[in-house]
Point group: C2
Chain length 211, copies 2
Amino acid sequence: MEYSEKQRQIMDVALALFADHGYHKTSIRDIARAAEVNVAMVSYYFGSKDKLLEAIFIHRFSTMREILRDIIYEKTHSPIEKVEKFIDIFIDMLVQHQLFHRLMMRESSVIKEGPLFDMIYELKTTNRRLVEKAVKNGQRLGVFRKDVDVFFMSSVLIGSVNQNLANHRYEMEHTQWTAEEKEIAKKNRINALRKHLKRMFIAYLTIDEGQ
Amino acid sequence: MEYSEKQRQIMDVALALFADHGYHKTSIRDIARAAEVNVAMVSYYFGSKDKLLEAIFIHRFSTMREILRDIIYEKTHSPIEKVEKFIDIFIDMLVQHQLFHRLMMRESSVIKEGPLFDMIYELKTTNRRLVEKAVKNGQRLGVFRKDVDVFFMSSVLIGSVNQNLANHRYEMEHTQWTAEEKEIAKKNRINALRKHLKRMFIAYLTIDEGQ
DNA sequence: TACAAAACTAAACAAACGTTTAATTTAAAC
DNA sequence: GTTTAAATTAAACGTTTGTTTAGTTTTGTA
């Protein structure tokens, strides 16, 4: 699916507004105003507001799919390195697509059917399968323990990163830092997130039960 | 603040609809129909739709505040037991108030000011302070490591539980189990969540760096 | 029973919503 | 330069929205 510059402009503006104020709170007139186009253009190009959301999802999903697919082909030496690499790529992905990620997380709690539901379901399943693959690899090599809950692990991965970013945004609302200071604080926070998430996962995966 | 039976009925119905379909997607007429009252009653009792949401938040928050406050007075023997107890109470709280928790999580991403923002901010801060207290206690007794990131830990706690419950709901949409079977599956899932979350936290808190 | 306050109702309100229409401008092709 | 299709516009469409009004019923009190 190819989009003209104007179509992409509408999609980008809509994504930002949807992420900031929610899908239903954002009106087509809000989008048109921010994108500096006529209100009729959204229907003209995308058919409807729902279809616009769907177009945004399809567009962003194809990128995320590629990133997740690339994780498999990452050549690493040990199972631990593989887990660390996985976490790095995963965090990079969510940070890079943070607006879309926020939108998806928010709407996923009320979407119960249709193409968007299927896409989100696919993403969650893919994510879980990749975690499972990495875990089983480590188990086969005798590095990881046997009784690891993959459902739990994938929940922790996406849930922790998501909550960490959300909390950080919340705290930033209370500060009066400059944009530059906020950028530095964000980088530090993400680096801390990487470090502790890796440590926590590896501790959970390798620790001996016999205490 | 005391509410009559009818007022509580409206609040309960509204909470369920808000949690299931989102605040902005749910109309006052939807609420009135489900609660079997006249549309004007919502404005009559609560003033406006926003105030109704606020009333729901205030009402549920007072309960959650009490639960979190009780955690401090939990008498336990060791720091590890304290962490385990904390996780148990926390999960109990989110499961018991799962509708409200879903609503709060969803709306917290778009609420940027006002009384609801302040309440959510307070809850996050309280939660983090309690985690900090438990961690420092363990550090003082030489059981936990020194370089623990409390911001990270509180994010992992709420994020993991939230994501786990959300994923479980997502998977349930695809099955055709009976209500009873779903209830059993849910219980099992929550028990697994308890077990693995405790194990993971304790592994992260106690493991030696010198590997 | 009389009365005042509270509870409740149907109807109407203006505003905002997503979408469509009909007309006009722009761009491309011949 | 003419023609044809695409892009763009302002205006209007019918619904739905949250809220208010004005009137009725119920309830509690003296």
